[in-house]
Amino acid sequence: METFINPKSLFHLLLLPCLLLYSSIAYNSSPVEAAMHTNNWAVLVCTSRFWFNYRHMANTLSLYRTVKRLGIPDERIILMLADDMACNTRNKYPAQVFNNENHRLNLYGDNVEVDYRGYEVTVENFLRVLTGRHETAVPRSKRLLSDEGSHILLYMTGHGGDEFLKFQDSEELQSHDLADAVKQMKEKHRFKELLIMVDTCQAATLFNQLQSPGVLAIGSSMKGENSYSHHLDSDVGVSVVDRFTYYTLAFFERLNIYDNASLSSLFSSYNPSLLMSTAYYRKDLYKRRLEEVPVTNFFGSVMETIHTDAAYKALSRRNSGRFEDEMSLDQSVHHIKRRMLIKVNDGDEIHDINPEGEEGASKCPWSTFRNKFQKAENVDSLLNYGLVAMIPLLVISTWLVQ
């Protein structure tokens, strides 16, 4: 008996690592661009302190509210605020922050999770968040746990100049630092696509050194231009929002999670005469056509849909088709729901690839694996049949012996 069973189990044991190896090779060797958009992250940074920079915090909080409204959950937003205007003694409305003089919307209401606040917002911490090089004690909520399927929105506002952005009135982030951090992120497969949005003076200069593929950058002003505040709240006594951010928000206020306005429509919505500066976007590192990329790819958590007949069947990474831009609105409702569903599944799959691979030996849910298992299964069944055929033989032989 044992002699018959052992080879079989041995065979299985040998087979499994081989399969695992194969699947992992197939997974890694595939080009990065081919990785699917599976999740969304946002890093929102306000870099300046002091009461008269109220608007920068308001900018960041407004964008925080927008991306949250469009579906990026709190645990995937890293919010960095260099100062606390809400609790500033000069604030006429304690514990409230407004981005409009009509005071209709309190940005600092419930459910605002600030990950880095006050003096924690430093260039060092910012670069650590991007590159993921944290000290061991840093909690997961303060880390950017993105992967190669992530779309990341990086929004920064503060005071900048030619190729730098001031942090905390004491240090600077230079365009080299930013480019280096992005490069490291790319090498560590920390993003699939990255949208950098900067609202400072001479914001465009901050992108000069970027060279990693998949990065799209937009800044509020060209070199030599200032970015201006939009309006002054004479009640609070400070400017409450910057022009670039104001018009960005105005664009998004018209959208909901189901809209599919493209990035190009966002970028073309900036009117230089209203902005009093020229919004500049750099797209030479970005492969996709901006007309085909919905803004919710970055500002929301909406990604491509793959239609499946069964829950666990026919989910192929390779065969996934391109996103259809021209789908109608009524369709998209269903679509989105499915997308969300798939998104959740996707998230699970990323982390559970190895267990599934192990399971695959017995359950074979993946069609890709099925072919590979075909031969092995044949051998198996042959053995089984042989075993079954041997039973009568055994019976006959024992009977004969008796």
Binding site: F50, C87, T89, R90, K92, S234, G237
Partner: protein, 719 residues
């Protein structure tokens, strides 16, 4: 042989190249006459160009954001203020002899608003001459022994704590108030302050505490504020003062009544403090006014020409002009406004600017002639008050503690109309509110803008980098001329000796005589030193003269003059007689004396320009021409040419003008007319200078007077 050959070779070699800077120095020294004429002219011209070069002011500090918040002061607060004004002007409140009733009313009003209130009792401290206290901070340890209960003042202090603030900083609002003979203006200023105060008790945006000081001005506004500040900044730990305060029945009465009527409230007998002062505003309303529109005058000069940060003036100016529609004034020398020569100078500049603009359109530096005249008048008064070194208002007391402060004097177009009164309360109150809100936004002390500047109008200033040019040009020739005189004196005597002696004798005696000659200037230096020593003694004399009781200013002045002459003669006789000695030994001695004098004046002016620029500038205008022109009259008479005659006249005129009392009377005559000039005035003026610890006093005593004496001695040199 070889050695001698080498030596001769080296002798024959061309001189090593002199470094360019040395060559430039030699060139300048050899042409010192032309150089000094050009520089002095340029210096005076640059001074007159300053109004043209003035820049527009701008808010330098980001955090201030004046006018970004709309004023919250409403008619409700104005009517509150009006109520206080009515109560204070009510004849019933003036029944008390000491005016305590009005203090009680003010304190009660403050308490009703929920502010912390305390009284600060002080004894007026007469300013006295303390020879060793120049530049030192006011002393806290001084306790006057000979005070009496009848002579004390009461400051009422109200403090609002910032609701969310940390209590580390404070803004001070001061309203001088004389309870005994208050005019309507003072009551009105209290009304304005009260309306702002009542608003500030309600707002949530305060980051700094607000202190409202009602300074009892019956012993002078400055004294009251200074006394309160002294107490605030340097707490007394002596047990002497507290029992003293209770010995006076009136004060006791005051405290008792208060404690009785409002027990458990925020009233306290002890001295109350808030945080570090960020800035202070002194608010006054002028009683009489014949202006056609509401104006507000800014007084900024503190002791020794110190100015508050320009940003503070900018904020007030911006808010007053652009928000409240008030006209802003700074002090002007009114007499200059009508001077025709200034007008023509302005026209010349204007036409020059036009020509320059037609040549190159980007040159836009011209200002209209009328503007130029006004700018010059303002600049002159700015220079004058800074040079005087006496604060122009109670704000000066704050500057001694490095707190930026200004005095705002509102002069409304007067009428007793109620509508008008409400209007001035509203606008004045909103101005104060705006300034406080703006300062409240500050994160640090005022530091962004200039501290060293001269104003040419409320919105134009000349910064230190520009006005120093005029001064530098004026004093630049001094070292050159000194060096050239020194070289001349040496070389000329050298030549004369060379001629008389035979060439063979030179070699032997030369080194020795050169060694002696090169130290000959020490003789002159000794003379200069003695005269400066005398200057120091003269500056100390008033301290002793002021101890003489019952002495009228005129007699004091006479005593001073007599003692000064006496001491000069004594010093001269005791410490050898340098002039006689000089005459015996050297013909050119006067040149050396002049050289050393010029050097010492250069040092003195340079030092003074660091301490108080305006004094140094005015001093340089008087002294530099005198020093440079000084030459023995005998020589000029002997020469008999037109040039020497002119020089003689100039010397005589300058010799009169540069004498400090003469300069004072001349200036006073120009400003007020010569009719009521009195010899005692100078004594009073000097008294005020030392009372305010003005460095100008030291400058006059220890730089200008010795310089004048030395120049006179050169003029009358017998050579």
């Amino acid at each position: 042989m070889a050695e001698t050959k080498e030596k001769s070779l080296s002798d024959e070699k061309p001189k090593p190249r002199v470094r360019p800077i040395v060559r430039l120095g030699i060139f300048l020294i050899s042409h010192s006459f032309h150089f000094s004429v050009v520089c002095c002219t340029a210096g005076v011209l640059a001074l007159f160009l300053l109004p043209v070069l003035a820049k527009n002011t701008y808010i330098s500090e980001n955090a201030l954001m004046p006018g970004s918040a709309s004023p919250m002061l409403s008619n409700q607060h104005v009517s509150d203020g009006n109520r206080l004004v009515k109560d204070l002007t009510n004849p019933n409140s003036k029944s008390s002899e000491t005016g305590i009733e009005s203090h009680k009313i003010i304190a009660q009003y403050m308490l009703d608003l929920g502010a912390e209130v305390s009284f600060h009792k002080f004894h007026p401290q007469m300013n006295q001459f303390h020879p060793l206290h120049f530049f030192s901070s006011p002393d806290s340890g001084k306790i006057q022994e000979n005070y009496s209960c009848s002579s004390y003042g009461i400051n009422t202090v109200g403090i609002i704590r910032a609701p969310h603030g940390d209590g580390k900083e404070a803004i001070v609002l001061v309203t001088p108030y004389n309870a005994l003979k208050s005019g309507f203006g003072e009551a009105l200023s209290l009304g304005i302050a009260y309306s702002v105060f009542s608003l500030l008790t309600q707002v949530t945006w305060l980051a700094k505490d607000i202190i409202w000081l009602v300074a009892d001005s019956q012993y002078g506004e400055y004294a009251a504020v200074a006394a309160w500040l002294r107490e605030y900044q340097t707490p007394k730990f002596s047990s002497l003062s507290t029992p003293n305060a209770e010995m006076c029945p009136d004060v006791n009465n005051l405290f008792e009544l208060k404690g009785h009527s409002i027990s458990g409230s925020k009233f306290s007998n002890s001295f109350r403090r808030a945080g570090t002062m960020a800035s202070a505003l002194v608010l006054k309303v002028r009683d009489q006014n014949e202006q056609f529109e509401d104006t507000i005058s800014i007084y900024a000069e503190a002791s020794n020409g110190q100015m508050p940060n320009l940003d503070l003036i900018n904020v007030v100016n911006y808010l007053a002009v652009h928000r409240q529609g008030l006209r802003v004034n700074v002090e002007k020398l009114w007499s200059l406004l009508n001077s025709s020569w200034l007008k023509s100078l302005g026209e010349i500049f204007e036409s020059l600017a036009k020509v320059a603009k037609s040549l190159y359109p980007k040159w836009k530096f011209g200002i209209p002639a009328t503007e130029y005249v006004e700018g010059t008048a303002t600049l002159a008064s700015s220079l004058y008050y800074q040079a005087l070194g006496v604060p122009t208002g109670p704000h000066g007391a704050f500057r001694d503690y490095q707190v930026d402060a200004i005095t705002l004097e509102i002069s409304p177009k007067f009428s007793l109309d109620k509508v008008w009164r409400n209007d001035i309360l509203l606008r004045g109150g909103r101005l104060i509110e705006g300034v406080i809100r703006s300062v409240n936004n500050l994160l640090e002390k005022f530091h962004q803008s200039f501290f060293l500047y001269l104003l040419t109008s409320p919105s134009k200033f000349v910064s230190v980098g520009v006005y120093m040019i005029a001064f530098a040009l004026l004093i630049a020739p001094l070292p050159m001329v000194a060096a050239s005189l020194y070289v001349d004196a040496n070389s000329s005597s050298n030549c004369s000796k060379g001629d008389s002696s035979t060439p063979s004798a030179i070699t032997d005696t030369d080194e020795h005589s050169i060694a002696i000659r090169s130290w000959r200037w020490l003789n002159s230096a000794k003379l200069v030193f003695i005269v400066h020593l005398w200057g120091a003694i003269v500056s100390l004399l008033p301290y002793f003269i002021s101890q003489i009781p019952d002495c009228s200013p005129t007699t004091s002045f006479m005593i001073w003059v007599l003692l000064s002459i006496l001491s000069l003669l004594t010093l001269n006789s005791v410490l050898a007689s340098p002039l006689a000695c000089a005459k015996a030994t050297q013909e050119k001695e006067w040149a050396l004396v002049k050289s050393v004098t010029i050097s010492s004046v250069f040092i003195g002016l340079g030092l003074m320009s660091v301490i108080n620029f305006a004094t140094a500038e005015i001093g340089a205008l008087l002294m530099v021409p005198m020093c440079l022109l000084a030459q023995p009259l005998k020589l000029d008479v002997r020469a008999g040419t037109l040039r020497s005659f002119c020089r003689m006249i100039c010397n005589l005129v300058l010799g009169h003008i540069a004498f400090p009392p003469a300069a004072f009377f001349l200036l006073k005559g120009m400003l007020d007319g010569f009719g009521n000039a009195n010899v005692g005035d100078f004594w009073m003026w000097v008294e005020s200078l030392w009372a305010w610890n003005s460095a100008t006093y030291l400058f006059i005593g220890m730089v200008q007077l010795p310089c004048w004496v030395l120049c006179i001695s050169i003029l009358f040199h017998t050579c």
